[in-house]
Each structure stands twice: as structure tokens, then as C-alpha cells.
Amino acid sequence: MDLNRRDFLKSASLATAATATACTIDARTPIEHVLPYVQMPEDELPGTATYFSTACGECASGCGAVARAKEGRVVMVEGNPDWTEGHGLCTRGHFGLVGAYSPERVEGPVTGGANLDWDTALQRVAEAVKAAQAAGKSVAWLGNYRTGSLDTLLGEFGTATGLRRVHWEAFGVESLLAASRAAFGVATLPTYELANAQVILSFGMDFLGTAYGAMGMSKGWSSAKNPANGGFVTRLVCVEPRAGVTAAQSDHFLPPNPGTELAVALAIAKLAADKVKYPNAALLAAVDVSAAAQASGISEEKLNEVAVWITDKASVILPGGPANAGTSSSDLAAVTYLLNDICGNIGKTVVFGKEQSYGTVSAYADAKALLDDARAGKVGVLFIDGANPVYNLPAEDKAAEALAAVGLVVQFANEPDDSTTPATLLLPPGSSLEGWGDANVTSGVHTLQQPGMTPLKLSRTVGDVLLGVAKLLALPEPSARSNVEFSVGDGSVVPGSEVYTPSTVAQQPMGFAHESFRVYVQERWKRRVWDGVGTFDTWWVGVRQKGGSFNPAAASALPLTLAALPALPAAIAGAELALCIFPSSNFGDGRYSNRPWAQELPDPISTSSWGSWAEIHPKTVAALGLRETDSIKVKTAVGEVTLGYFATPGVREDTVAIVYGNGHTNVGRYGTGRGVNPLSLISSAVDGGSGALATYTTRAAVTRSDVTSDFFALSGNLTMDGRPVAVACSADEAVAQPTGKAGSVLHLHEPEWDKRLDDANIHDFFPEPQHPTYRFAMAIDLNSCTGCGACIAACALENNIPFVGPDQVRRGRGMSWIRMDRFIEGEGEHLDIRHLPSMCQHCSHAPCEGVCPVLATYHNLDGLNAMIYNRCVGTRYCANNCPYTVRRFNYHTWTWPESMYLMLNPDVSVREMGVMEKCTYCVQRTRSVKDSWRDVHETVPDKALEKLTACASACPTQSITFGNLKDSAGTVSKLFLNPRTYTLFGELNTKPGTRYLAKARHHLAGGAPAHGSPAHGSPAHGSPAHGAPAHGEPTHGLPAAPESGHGSPAEHKEG
């Protein structure tokens, strides 16, 4: 244990099971110790979890989170219910916990392989800064977006030391800021109120996956998609080359010819302007709609139809995303603002006032310029905060050489990564669960980051380091407040829009005379966030308890000041396949690659893990003559990579899409050497308007290579093969009956119950098992499930689910208890991607219980299907008999690295080899909630159960609801009566405890009649589909479920 035991144990609470056992009488009765406190803090209950409201530090969005600490260590991270901007936590937020316990974390400050203590490290930084300033060299800062107190401190520190600040992220927001500056004159990001948008037209923004502020937009979109609130189902139209997490939810997927997105946007703008008699229509006079239709390959009628949709009802037009990051990405964004103005959305669904700001934002061109200066030897000290220039910049920029030429590179990182060289001074800031900080993205919404445990290593936050260096440099107190700046690549600075509360102290600069960054944050909140009512201390305690102060500013509008239309860029020339680079929701921009669970979580679209993959269209696969086991060689003028491919109709036939985030050279044992870095294929082309990196500009030659492909899709078959698994119904019917009698929209919900059996009072061979007080059940709304995998991440951390490594995953032995079924049907505009999180359904007539020879699994009183690990012998018959195939088997005893033992949840036992395991509806949580309500002699109310399980509390779109079926007023009981609800494989009469709500789509694949139209008894699927061979041939039209099979009225009446 590299941990300093004395400090850890003394300050930590009662450590009942010390990890190392002193000696043993024999292997089975280890002598274990009980270590009480020396001085116990009052009201501390050893063994009971303590919860800390904090902010997630994994990306700039700063979502509200809650860290659960047990015996002095954080074992779980969840969403903060009090946080207003979103719900739950995304996959990257959860895996922050895995990062905190990473085995590669450095002990303390490191340089040249030698450990330093903090004082000498700060001394060395201060001297380097003084030397650089003396030699006339510049002191530079290359880092991620920082908001809140760190941005303020960095501003003042920068002005005091003449710091050249470059804040750049691989898929940053600089093109959007440039567009809003061009369109509205102010470089700021509007907030998209998707909740009341009846039509969403997106030009590639991945607002459900990797975009900034995705959590807030997911929450809005999910309520817009639900027919129950607002009486409408939002219609999503996506114009982008590849179907990512967002486009998978699109009703109409319109992939234009590569490089013609701007033409399509202008054409729609012109059509919309004509429809609404837009006053400034003259601006669009020069737009030729038919030429745009001809160039983009999207028919004029379709463009016209889209124009009608967005002008009729409240709509939102979203700018381009990473897939469309061409040389005119800022122009495209500007046109989307124009479109919003044409449709009158500004101020209604696209609002300013409570806009988003990510602190100081620089462009790729600035980062490139900084590295060029560094290479020329003009940079004395370079601070790297969270950035990874060697990986995130195209190879042409030769970042490694630049870093080598810098006097002293100071890197704030817990683990060495690609950019770390022996000469780098590595200062570990500690994970976001161990230090103080805050985030302020939406104006008026401040989330406070509180530590949940004492730092595991000798780490200091970036703020503490800056304050330390400032003291050593004896920097003068700043005279005026620093501004949030935005540089547009040409060095000009535009004031940002940080909103201040009008308190007297707001205008004073913060200065550096603060004892620690904690004090600095507290002081800054006192000056700039506190509204001055009552005493600060009581307000501060309330803020720490809630996790921040969340009162977003009032929405307002800005006048459009777009002067001229941007020129159309040239289409991406060449005969080969257009190269589109997209970020995955697991790896982000590559900073999460060394987290085993981030690598192992299957990607929502390709369900691949541990590596990179290229997506190409099945017709292209046939054209290239590829077999399943082949991998492909993608070659451009700049570079060449070889990787496995995923054949999917969700990408254009003339495009190859490669995932970004893998292919590292030195990020630790889990991330190094996995997959390829697609940036090595592109040259450093730049977007004209904003200086952002243009990735969607080149074409690549794709050929077959003899290397055996390491691509493996965890979700078996591509299509549903005509089976009613992830069922969809038409949006109009879902709107017609948002609630009320079950079975009106989907006859699948309650397959026609044979009245004769009813009269003869024959229901089942066997009576319902007795559920005295609780029958726990779960409703999963497939309508708003985006397949993002947050539930899988939360489940893995809560239930000590091991990661098994690439080799075992490739053999299909992933251990996560939720398998995200992903089906891709249809193609082109009929593309229909469905996700279905399948976990144990806790059936009342469970096929797995009858066949276990040793009674290791049985149906308990609360309706749960219990799985007792000790009694399991491992015959695996239960797993064979489960129609949902959701049971997982421990083929080996999986091991974690030593440092991750602290991460394990002590309430859940760790399983050894030969034992079956499955979803338990978080039995440790239901048990403790029942226990606490039993003290007041009441059954657990529905409010306490609704978001109880780890997956329900994590889901960003609130699709998963847990509850007690015996409480007929509960949300789950109501959802079970929803007309869209159906049971998976209901005809097997297993009476599952989990039911799914069908997806409401405006446009069903193949234009088939809405599946399960109310016309009674739509004919069975004709003669059985002869020879529907397994290898993914797209079925035309969705299946009508077989008529046979009887539902479960008994269970239902009970509910």
C-alpha cells in the first residue's frame, strides 16, 4: 500500500476490515482488526455513508454531483437532485471515480523520475517564471476550459505575470462563439430550451452525447419527447454524415453530400424566410435552392418539408457538431442563428441572458501559434492544465518538439500522458473528489466542488499551486477586475458576459493574499455569488449542503446583426471516401482513455469496446469485398491507419467515420496502444471564421488489409430480425392517448386476452407468488432512452462489477449487468436506430428459478429474483433458461489493481469465479431504504423509490423509473398503465417486473403502418419470414407481434 497508513487511518473513521491482515491462524479465519477513532467527530456513525454535494470535474460543464463516502473514501458518484440544469450524471462523470483510484496516479510532484516535495516544486516554478521574464521569454498557459474561481484566479495571475493564456479543447466551442459574434455582435453561447421545442433541426450538434451542456439539453429533449407533458412529441431532423447518439434518435436522418451542409442550411433558410415573410429576406436573395438540393443530394421537396416543419411550430435549429467540423463550421453556425431568427425562436427556445460561457476560450489557431513560438524558443515556462497537445493536435504541428524547446513545462495532471516527458514537472492536482473548486457555466448557476475524502496522494489543486507561486513571486495585488476574454485567433479580445450580483465588493479584485484555494473560493462566492441576504455563513452552509446556488438569470433576446451571407465552401473533392472524425461518448477528447471502465463500456452505436473502429456502409463493405474478419487500411495524403470496421447503414455510402479518443502512446496501462489516433490522417486545416480545427475536409483511400480485425460488437445481431424487441409506435397515436387505458396504442402491451379463458376463470397454472408489502418494479421509457450508457456506468460502480479486459470482452464475457441492445434498421432517411437497456426483469414466473438445482436463485417476498452468490455452484442452467439472456457468469476471478480496492462498495459482496450474477434492483439500496422507513413503521413512499436504483438516479433523460407495484398511486404503477407500455417477450408469460414504454417516432422505418395500429388484430406477420439469415439484412417494415400469448392480468390487477 503506497498510502501513508498513519494519516489515512487516524483521520479516517472506523476501518473495520483493514485491507492487509496481520497473520492468520489458517487461510480461512484471518485475524481482522477494528480501529476506532482517536477523537470521533460528533454525529459520525461509523459504517453509515456520508454524502457530499459537489461538482463533477470531468469536463467543463461542471454538472452537480453527489459523492457517497463510506469509511472515509468515496465509493459512488451520482447526480445531484438539487442541481437545476440536468439530471443524473453522464458516463464520463461516473468514471471520474475510476480515475480517482487509478493505479497510475503519481505520488506527488515528479520531475525527471525523482519525487519532489511541494515546496521545492513551487520554488522551481517561481524561479523558472522569474528567469523567463528576465530573459524576455513568454510565460504561457495551455489548458482546458476553466470557469468560476479558477478562471478568476488565472485571470489575475495572468495579468500580474503577463501570462499568455490559451484555453483550447479538441472539440471546443470556438466556432460557435465566432458565429454568435458574427450574428449577434456578442461572443456568447445561447441556451437551447429544448423542453418546448416541437421540431429540432440539428446540423450535427451531438446534444445528447458529447456536446457541452449535453446534460441540460438531454433533460429538455426528454421532456419534449414525452407526449404526456406538452401534448406533443418533438420531431428531430438531423443533417450530418454519420448517425451518432443524437442522430440515432432522429426521425429524419438526411446525410448530405460531404461539405454541402452550409448549402442545405442556406436553402432551408431561404424557403423558411419566404414562408414567414422574413423582413430581412433580401439577405437571402442570392441563395439558389435547386442548386443546393442538387449539390447536397437532398430533394427539394424534403428541404421544403423541413422548412414547413420548423416554421409551423416552436422549433430549435442547432449548429454543426464535430462530424460537420469543416472549413466553414462557424459560417454554418451563423446561418443556424439566422434560421432561428427567421423562425422567431430567439428569446423563446434559443435564449440569451442565461447564456453559457466556458471562461476564456481560444481557437486552435492560437494553440498552433503558441506551439510555433515555443518551437522557436520564445517560451520560457509553459503551464499545461489538463490539455494533451501531443495527442490532441494533428501530427503536422509537431507538438512534442515544441514542448522539448520550452524552458520548463509544468503539467497539472494526476497521471503522465502523451505530452509528459522526463523533463516535465508533473504537479498532481488530485481528482475532483479530493479538492475544492467550483464551476459557473450558465449565468447565475454556480456549482460548488467539495472534497469527499482526504487526497489519496500528496496532491494540491491548481488554485493552491497558483496561490503558492504568486506568494513566492510576491506578485502585486491586482488593481482592476480581470475580464473573461475570448480571443478570435487574431489576438483581439472581446469582453465575456460573466454576470455579477450588484454587491459592493463585487468589483474589487480578489488578490492573492489567501491562505488556500478553499478560502479563495469561499471568499469569491462571498463577493460575487452571495446575494447579501442574511449572514454569509448560514448561506454558505446551505450552499455546501445543496451543492451550489442555482438561480439562472432571466432569459432575454439579442437582435440579429448578421451583415452578409457567408460564401459557400467547395465540396470535399476526390473519389475516395470522405473522412469524418467523431468523438465517442466514452473517450471524449482522449482524456478518459486510461480508465478501464471507459474503455470497456460499449459505444452506444457500434457497441465496440477497448479500441477504435471505422464505420462504413454495408454497400461499401460489399464494394471493397471485405469479410467479417478483415480490417481496413485508411490512407490519406498525410498518414495511414489500420483498424477494424463496423458495417452500419448509419453512415453515408461515400464516407468513412473513425472514432477519436484512442491510439495513445503513453497514458497508462489501460489506454496505451489501444486503437488509432485519426488526427494522424488530417493536416491542420483551419475554419476561416474562428480558427477552429477543420477535421471534415479530407478524403481517404480505404482498402482491405490482411491484419485480423479486433472489432467486436457486443450487441449481437444488427437488426431485430422481425422480432418485437425494441418496439416503436407512431407519434400521432402516442399524442392521441398520452395516458389512460392500457393497450390502446400498442396491442402488444396486453396481447388480446382470450375472453373464454377469462370466463372459465383460468388464468395461470400457478397462482401469483405472494408479495405482502412490496412488489418492486421498473419502467423504462425507450422513447427518451438515448443508449448513452450512464446506467451501465452507475451500475458498474455501485455493484462492484469488474472490468474484464479486451480479450475477455472480445469473447463476449463483459460482466456489466445491463446489456444495451442496439438495433439498426432501415437506411438513409428511413434509418431507425433503437436502444433497449436489458437487465434482469425480476419475473414473477421466472424461468431461471425453477431450474437451479441448489436453490441459489428464488423469488423473494419483495418481488425480487434473488441471486445468492455463496450457494451458486455454477451449473449455469438459469442463464440458459432466461429468455432475456441477462445473467452474467464469473468465468474467472476478476481482479482489480491494488489501488482500486478502496473504490469497492462495501455493501455489495465481490464475487469469485464460478458464480452467476445479475441485476438485483440494487438490493443493498432497497434494503437500507426499507430499513430506515421501518424505524417509523411505514412502507417506503413512492418518492423515495422513484430514483432509488443506481441506473434510475444516473439516467440523464430520466427514462428509468423504479417503484413499488403494490402502491397503485405510484409513478411506476401509472407508467405500467401507459398505452405505450409493453412487456419484453410478454407471450412467454414470465410476468416480468420491468416493462418498457414504446418509442414514439414520427417516421417509422420503411414507412410501414404504425406498428400495432389500433385496428384490432393487425394480421400476424404472414407466413414466417423464410430464411431471415442472421447477418443483418435490413427487414422492410416492422413486425406485428404474433397474436398468440396471453398477458398477465393477474399481475396487472394486483398493481
Binding site: 450487441s715 449481437g716 445481431n717 437488426t719 422481425g722 422480432r723 424487441v725 475477455q808 469473447r811 463476449g812 464475457r813 446489456r819 441492445d821 442496439r822 438495433f823 433497449l836 436489458s838 424461468p847 425453477g850 431450474v851 437451479c852 438445482p853 441448489v854 436453490l855 450457494r871 451458486c872 455452484v873 455454477g874 451449473t875 449455469r876 442452467y877 442463464a879 440458459n880 433458461n881 429468455p883 432475456y884 439472456t885 445473467r887 452474467r888 457468469f889 464469473n890 468465468y891 474467472h892 476471478t893 469469485e912 469465479m913 464460478g914 458464480v915 452467476m916 417477450f985 400476424a1020 406477420h1021 407466413s1023 414466417p1024 419470414a1025 430464411g1027 431471415a1028 439469415p1029 442472421a1030 404474433p1042
Partner: protein, 443 residues
């Protein structure tokens, strides 16, 4: 049979015992080394976990359960020949039934290995047996696997008793024809059997009851084994045709294994007078008959799936023919349905090479039939997102070879230790020596 005397019978049958020639020692040594080498595969799997085999969700069963059912199936023909044909008094039984019964016991012993190999935690496999324990934990007797435990253990016990009791008179013959330590050893084993009228009187009664008891086992044990699959709701498994289908398959592969074992036995140990072509012809006819039942069963399975219009069933059956396991299905149909048809021709049925080759093909086909049922149904289950195909690894190959080595090892030992033809029964079938001409001899 040329006119043999009782002395000839004793001499011929007891000749191969005890004097191992180099060929026998060579084969025995080879079998032992293969057993030890492949036994290490099992140890490797026990120490490092079942992951070394090829299993993964949704296919949790594969080579091990296939081999378990394969060996149990082979056992049934032995009991059929020794028990059922005893009750029907068929004449061709006498020469073959002792070795067939031995094959049954060794096949069931081999099959009994597999519950320990196949189970995830082999060191807790004894929890499958109901014994009183302080944790008051018992078994779920409604589970088909518990039926299996009882069925296989009962079958093994009954067959062993039936086999041992049948051996006692012949052990007495061995005792009387040997000297020294072997005489003392076989004397103890013969339990003082002298062939007195009292002993024969009760012996024949008891032997009749044993045969009567073992007969239902021929049908029930493999029906219980088929219920492991028939009781599940996996598409392709849960159908009422399984019990007769499996029993026919069992007798089919059992008779083929009897032919495979008896041919070299009769040639190498020159027992042609006792196990001659006439026996093999009967076995071959039995195989052709049960092969026909199997072919009919395959056809019925597909018809039922098609007729039920249940897309899960039909999907699975279509996947068996067109999916990634198409070659398993092809081998099965060729070996079980087409190959045995050559035995319609008397020339092939009575030619030693023809018999041996087709019997091997039949057993290969039967192994594939079980693999086809188990693996392809699990790989193509209800949820299309769970369709992942299973491929065995070298560990499973090693353990499969271990089961063959284990079986042949016991059979080789048996041939050298016990008379492999029932001396008493053969004598009973011969015309007794008469002093006077037959017309006025004793009735």
C-alpha cells in the same frame, strides 16, 4: 458355432486373461499417457476457472454437456442388450451382452465425470447431493438437474450390481482354473459360488428381477437427460418429442459403440466363435432402425417449428441450417441419416471393415447432433442482441479426449481382468453333452 464342448468354452474365453502381450501393453500405455496429459487440462480449468473454455453469454453450455449426454447415451445400448433382450429371450444376446454391459458401466462412469468438469465451482459440486447439514440447506428437487443427479446415480448403481452379479459364476470359473494368489483373489470375489442348485435357483430369480428393473432405466434415464433441455423455454429445446428422440439416439449411438468395441475384441482375442458376424448383423439392424427414428425426429422438429408459426422457433431452426453452425448440421445429417443406410445391404452389413467404419461415423454424428441441439439453440435465442456464436477451445478438446481415454482405459482393464464373454450363458445356450442318442435322452 462349430461343435464346441464346455471345456473349449472355458479355455477360449479365459485364454486372453492375465497374459498381457506387447500390443496390449502398448495400447494401455498410450491410453494412460493421453489420460494424464488431458487430465492436466481439467486441472488447469479448475485452478484458473471456466474461462479457459470457450463459453460466453448466451451460450453457457457446449462441449461438456454435449459429451455428458453422448456418454450417457452410449451406456443405454449395453443395458438394452443385457436386460431387455434377456427378458425377450433373444438368442443373439449371449455372446455380446457381457462386454456391452461393461461398456455401459464405463460410459456412465465417464459421464459422471462431467458434472464435476462442467460446473463452475467443482469444489462445491457435492452440494448437488442431499445430505443433512447444519445450514439446513437442501436442494431444489423440482430442477431437471436434480432429476439428472438421481437418474444417473441410480442408473450407475443398478448397472454395476447387475454386471457384478452376472459376473459371479464366471469369476468362479476363473477361480477354478487359476492357482496361487489369483485363485485366492477370485475366490474372494466369487463369494464361494459353486453352482449348487440352491444358488442357481435364487440367482436366476434375482437375475430376472435385475433385468426387469434395469429395463425401465433404459428409457427413463435418457428421458430425464433430455428433460434438461425439454424443460427449458429456449427456442429449439422445449418440445415433447425430446424424450423418445433422445432414447432413440442413445440406442443408436450405443449399438454403434458396441460394434466399434466388439469387432477388435473378437478379432484380437480370437473370440470369433462366440462373437461372430451374426451378432454384428443384429446390432447393425438395430442401428438402422433407430437411425430411421432419428431421421423422422429431425423432420418432425422442423415441421413443428414451421407449423407453429412461432418466429423465435423458426428463426432458430433456420439459423441451424443457414447460420454459422451450418457445418455442424451438415455433419449430423450425413452421419446419422445417410451413412447408416449402407447397412441395408447384407454385403456391407456382414463385412468387418464396413461395420467398423460406419459405426465410427455414427458416433461422430451423434456427438454433433447433441452439439447442434445445445449450442445452436443457445446462440440464436430470443433476443437478437444476444446472438453471439460459441467456439470451443483446446481445453475443451483436451477434456473430450480425456473422456475417451478414460473410457478406453477401463475397457482395456476389464478385458484383461474379467472374462469378456459370459461363460455360463454360452454353455446354457449350447446343447448339453448326452451319453445316449437324443431320442430317448432326458427331455
Amino acid at each position: 458355432m462349430k461343435n464346441l464342448t464346455y471345456k473349449d468354452v472355458n479355455k477360449d474365453v479365459l485364454r486372453p486373461l492375465f497374459t498381457p502381450d506387447y500390443a496390449y501393453l502398448g495400447v494401455l500405455g498410450a491410453t494412460l499417457t493421453v489420460l494424464v496429459v488431458t487430465g492436466l487440462c481439467w486441472l488447469y480449468q479448475m485452478v484458473y476457472g471456466l474461462g479457459v473454455a470457450g463459453y460466453h453469454p448466451p451460450v453457457f453450455w457446449g462441449v461438456y454437456i454435449t459429451t455428458f449426454v453422448f456418454w450417457i447415451g452410449i451406456g443405454h445400448a449395453g443395458t438394452l442388450i443385457s436386460a431387455v433382450l434377456f427378458l425377450t429371450r433373444s438368442r443373439w444376446r449371449t455372446g455380446v451382452y457381457r462386454a456391452a454391459e461393461a461398456m455401459t458401466i464405463f460410459a456412465v462412469m465417464t459421464a459422471a465425470l462431467f458434472p464435476a468438469i462442467h460446473v463452475g465451482r467443482a469444489w462445491y459440486a457435492y452440494w448437488l447431493f442431499p445430505y443433512p447439514n447444519q445450514r439446513q440447506l437442501w436442494q431444489n428437487f423440482k430442477s431437471p438437474l436434480m432429476w439428472d443427479v438421481f437418474a444417473v446415480s441410480t442408473y450407475f448403481t443398478v448397472s454395476t450390481i447387475f454386471f457384478a452379479i452376472g459376473l459371479v459364476p464366471d469369476i468362479a470359473s476363473v477361480r477354478d482354473s487359476t492357482t496361487g494368489f489369483t485363485k485366492k483373489l477370485y475366490g474372494v470375489m466369487a463369494m464361494g459360488w459353486r453352482g449348487t442348485d440352491r444358488q442357481w435357483h435364487h440367482y436366476m430369480a434375482a437375475y430376472g428381477f435385475f433385468a426387469a428393473i434395469a429395463t425401465p432405466l433404459v428409457l427413463s434415464v435418457h428421458s430425464v437427460v433430455s428433460w434438461d433441455f425439454a424443460m427449458a423455454d429456449t427456442p429449439g429445446w422445449h418440445s415433447t418429442i425430446f424424450p423418445p428422440y433422445f432414447v432413440a439416439g442413445a440406442i443408436f449411438s450405443g449399438c454403434a459403440m458396441v460394434i466399434t468395441l466388439m469387432l477388435p475384441l473378437s478379432i484380437l482375442f480370437k473370440l470369433e466363435d462366440y462373437i461372430h458376424v451374426w451378432h454384428f448383423e443384429h446390432l447393425a439392424k438395430l442401428c438402422v432402425f433407430t437411425g430411421g427414428i432419428l431421421t423422422y425426429a429431425y423432420g418432425t422438429e422442423y415441421y413443428v417449428a414451421w407449423y407453429s408459426d412461432n418466429q423465435y422457433e423458426w428463426g432458430t431452426f433456420m439459423d441451424r441450417v443457414y447460420g454459422k453452425y451450418w457445418w455442424v448440421f451438415a455433419v449430423m445429417v450425413f452421419c446419422n441419416c445417410i451413412a447408416p443406410l449402407v447397412w441395408w445391404f447384407k454385403k456391407v452389413r456382414t463385412n468387418y471393415v464396413g461395420l467398423f467404419v460406419v459405426s465410427l461415423i455414427i458416433n461422430v454424428g451423434m456427438w454433433f447432433e447433441r452439439f447442434n441441439i445445445i449450442a445452436s439453440s443457445l446462440a440464436h435465442n430470443f433476443d437478437p442482441a444476444g446472438w453471439v456464436y460459441y467456439y470451443p477451445t483446446w481445453v475443451e478438446g483436451g477434456i473430450l479426449v480425456m473422456s475417451f481415454a478414460w473410457f478406453f482405459l477401463w475397457f482395456l482393464l476389464f478385458v484383461k481382468i474379467m472374462p469378456s464373454v459370459a461363460i455360463a450363458e454360452v454353455k446354457e445356450a449350447m446343447r448339453p453333452p448326452l451319453k445316449y442318442e437324443p431320442e430317448h435322452a432326458a427331455k
